[in-house]
Symmetry: D2
Subunit: 394 residues, 4 copies
């Protein structure tokens, strides 16, 4: 039995718990949150024996093997470092850290400690996204010629919408390019097996001022009822990026959180010399496959039609839709198999690319993946400042 | 803590377990199956302490409060009766029993024992199906004028496809009208609050003969490799029904398991004097709303846009799809609240219709629901035999 | 140059004209309508030399080769008979006549006069509907096992909606079963090459009373402004039919004009032993193809991917949608080729079925087609009255 | 009666003719093409009296009022200039000319000659695209915050695909940015009433070499049967552009002709402070409308639900789809009304923007529109060369 402690019981923490309890051989022992009430409620909801407010009750507990770091962004680095130092395996929410230097330190430390690392890029774990990766990597698409896509949401579409994500002190140098862009670029790198090499970004705060509540909005209050002050927004709520991949193929990506009617609409398309693939979170169970000389196809998640390496993720009879909870579950399934195997997955490290070849297992998202995403982000920010193309640091 | 025992670890049993472990205050103590290996594997997958082969270890265990009956159809009645007799609450897979007499006995026994009963009509627990029910019941659609829909699958589309469901000895008098039709009629009765009163059905075995394997096909074998014999099929794989609801509104329903390319495509449409609603399992997160004088709408599951009575089922930020596992989870959520409340839900029994009015909680599927479905089935079979309309027994 | 006269310049007449002017070798000489203003306006809109109010100016004009009969239903028979007697070829709107006896007389007369006949079942002329027919007839679907579908509109969804179609004196014995049902059954018989043999129908007036305007509503008035009287509706606005085809395959069809939000949504599905086909007027350019063992396909109208016999109808580069006007144009294209060939199409008469084999041209809709539709209608009406199955007269 | 001559009977010429014959008060007298056979065939197909090979038979014919210039790009300027000089009104295919200087000369000459000009940006004439423009311009969307979209085709996806569009001598400095980009930017400028001001483009030849046939491929030959030579491609088949509109709103656009499975998939989205709009050529009859606080809408082309200024373009009963031919027809309808009015449309010239206010008629595409598109193109090409942002010349 692998023993788990989870730190951070806000939005994403309980989603981790809901997936963890479905895993055989894994037991969550402790959940902590600075807000003890949140922690206690989460513990009760998932029959977890212990809750508390001090993250050291997790990272310092010798019985705990794996730490889930679900804290706010600015605490990721410190807590993860401490957990690694204590010999824990760590699955962190993204971003891995606030700076590249921090992220590099974590990657290095994890390697030294032989920790099995994971980062929650869960979108790649929808069954047909895995299938797209398997097919592209085994060559079905031919040469990847271009990619394109977007990620649109609307929860920041009003002037009265406010989030800590818009603050530099909480988010670092970027709001949406970091938050949604990292998911999107991970999808592209994962499915194509290619890397983003050069970028030019155009960032904007489409709502340059917002009304910030003067105190926290309580559960029973409406946003409008709390006194607010008009503030200039520090970070971008719009980002568009042109880029080139490691094989020279171009790409484009646009994202905003101000798009009325778009709830969490990530979509991306891979155009290859033989066929095309497209996926849209709004129809998460479907993979579109485009052909020149025959009708296009729609593959609905289906273990019997998928590549052997991805069939396990489509674990319901065809036609019974899997959802977001299942994507997180699938990611954990892979992660805990790696933990159980003592990190001896595939044939040499859990890094992106690595040994993942035709037929073999597809790579898991690890701390190295998290670091790569931060390097892409840094290049986008630089290109925006300089108004010309920038290279992603190798 | 409510203690649960589950009987039957085949296909649907583990799906129950995956939902049960996500419920706070509920603990699965025992899982049993005639096939002990299956039971043991299920127990290991969900960290359940005990497994075994004898259902009496569940129904006879005084510590167990609730029994999940996931056995094959022909065992439903006997085990459920025994569990009720032992004072257990029971959540049964459908059908409730093999005959109306049996089903009536169970309903009566449960009432006498004050058992909280449930039956797994899980399709109604997709968040937007709940929303459709809330809206129709609060009057948004105006008068319900007609309903229509279908349920198509393809897992019996080949002559080499075989299932115990095609055998009278295993299924009773009907294969698909019972299996898929009951789900569909439940959706209609649940969302409209109306009852099916008159029917005329047309049943057929579209594949009149099939190749039945002479022995069980093992996991590593292909169907074609096992010697088979050609047999005449006893039960229908196609069913179409015209019907009238309790308010006089007509309806139509068609179902088959031989429809190549349709995996589990249930869909139904309610046409009212004010607007229309449609839902399709293939796009399970979306509710279509049709208007005469303004653009049609598509409501994606969204707690902030749904009726207060259904918002709880849309428990992810809008745009993050829920799936089949979540529908089952939602049903269990309601069921275990009723168990925790000692069966004192709503204002008078957990029956269909009951006190469920505008704004109040929507009715849960109970043994009475299961009985109603069996009566509809009996009328369809009668109408098919007599080639004219038949009334559903009151 | 083939010379044409058109009778009836209401709704459908100008649509005929818009297609006729796109045909090479065809000239419309005269358009007439009891309402001379309508006729004059139609003539002006399409640069037609002559207009008038007397249909005999068309049927009696020796220069005119072809008559388009676009008059109200009750005039179809008389005018068509007169035109045939005068030696004209006739393309009639549906229904062919008001009674089977009349329709049979027209079929016989046309045969004697060697007239090239046509009837406007234009839905079958969407390019991918033709493609569906070509594929099913050449065997791609395998044996046709079942068909299903519906035709929903909403222009009669309100009590204040009124139409002459609801009057027995104008429509005959049926409103919607005749009007929309005939289109739908034509689609099924055309695409499958099979005939409807047995039926049981359930008809209803979902709005049993309506407010009938006391005088014609003028163009600038709103319906509500004209005084109306409440009348009992004579004919059905809902119809559902179960049926059996000539190969024994069952089917189901539902139609209503009271379905809020459905504008002209015809859809039908053919399930075969090898694959399935589905088409929906709402996405008229797309043919859905369903498979058991590989991803489903969506074929968008495309000359290079279609059967040689249907490629001509997809006369734009792929991705440029054709519409309703083009379906009518395609029907006329076929009809006027037959006229130009002196009725010597295919290899023996323009009847349904006939010589249309693999690779050959698909059958056009002729007066025989119109007669067949009337026989199906008669059987549906009989089955509804008798509440049991009825046979379609051979 | 307005008399028309058409020059160029290749692909697009006959499409013009098919729309022209549906216009009342308009007569096509002459069609010419360097290839006399093409001209004769087009004339026969549309009952046109005269055909020939010399464009001067059109521009020099005193009876002809309007010239349609459907020649290859490199002849646009010369023929249009001559037609204008002869006092003709001119409707030209895009691009207006090969250089900005030429285009400016044409705009000026047309103004001096008081010619009514038109250019075939027909995508804006789908009924719901007009509706989108009417709604955005009357303020329904609130402030336009961002736009995004793409235009993907696949007819150049293979190495054996060849087109004169890839040659600098035939196309000028750009293939796809000019060809498809101009349509797309026209859609954005038309619907928003805003202008593209700054751009940065990334262009690429995704197939850097292609096999060019050594002689023309004849109708009965397959591409592969004609001897070919490998050539380096001169012009881009991929283009991605980030841009800023005149109100500061950012946008992004991606296009390629190498996208397997994408036939002519233009789509664009406008995100406003109040709601969002999206349109996709693949579903050309549908306008998506996105909201934050209520369900999204889908408006299907429908005269009774559209703005009075756009209802005329939805000239079929709702639910009967209009297509590409109808979009061209709608553009011509507007153009010939302007011709009939002697160019006195709106309240001051037929330029973009102009008097087009709330409720008034939406602007038609004129030579000024064609010039604007060429300026956007020039800026994109400059930005690509310099790898930084470039301004569109005012």
């Amino acid at each position: 039995m692998i023993t788990v402690g989870l730190i951070g019981a806000g939005y994403i923490g309980p989603i981790h718990l809901g997936a963890l309890v479905r895993l055989g051989g894994v037991r969550v022992k402790t959940v902590v949150d600075a807000n003890g009430e949140l922690a206690a409620r989460a513990a009760a909801s998932y029959n977890i024996e212990r809750s508390g407010t001090d993250y050291r009750d997790v990272v310092g507990d010798p019985e705990i093997d794996v730490v889930h770091n679900c804290t706010p962004n600015k605490y990721h680095f410190g807590i993860t470092r401490e957990a690694l130092s204590e010999g824990k395996h760590v699955l962190s929410e993204k971003p891995l850290a606030m700076t590249i230097a921090e992220a590099e330190e974590l990657v290095e430390l994890a390697a030294r400690k032989k920790a099995v690392t994971g980062i929650d890029f869960c979108y790649r774990y929808y069954p047909v996204v895995q299938e797209m990766a398997a097919r592209v990597r085994r060559g079905d698409a031919g040469a990847v010629r271009m990619v394109s896509g977007s990620y649109f949401q609307d929860w920041l579409s009003k002037e009265t919408d406010w989030s800590w994500r818009l603050l530099r002190s909480e988010s670092g140098e970027s709001n949406i390019t970091a938050d949604l862009g990292s998911h999107w670029f991970d999808l592209v790198q994962f499915t194509t097996g290619l890397e983003v090499r050069e970028v030019i970004g155009d960032l904007a705060s489409l709502l340059p001022t917002r009304k910030r509540p003067k105190r926290q909005v309580l559960a029973f209050e409406k946003v409008g009822e709390v006194e607010s002050e008009e503030v200039e927004v520090e970070l971008e709520d719009y980002s568009a990026v042109l880029f080139r991949l490691s094989n020279g193929a171009p790409g484009s990506f646009t994202t905003s959180q101000t798009c009325n009617g778009r709830k969490s609409d990530t979509e991306f398309q891979i155009y290859g010399s033989q066929c095309s693939y497209a996926w849209n979170h709004k129809d998460a169970t479907q993979l579109w496959i485009g052909y020149r000389d025959r009708p296009n196809e729609v593959l609905i998640e289906n273990a019997t039609l998928q590549d052997p390496s991805t069939a396990r993720y489509a674990n319901l009879p065809a036609g019974h839709p899997l959802g977001y909870h299942d994507a997180v579950y699938n990611l954990f399934l892979d992660y805990y198999e790696a933990v159980a195997a003592g990190g001896r997955e595939g044939g040499g490290g859990d890094g992106e690319g690595g040994s993942a070849g035709a037929g073999g297992p597809l790579p898991r998202p690890t701390f190295e993946t998290g670091l790569e995403e931060m390097k892409i982000l840094a290049a986008v920010l630089e290109s925006h400042r300089k108004r010309t193309w920038a290279r992603v640091k190798g």
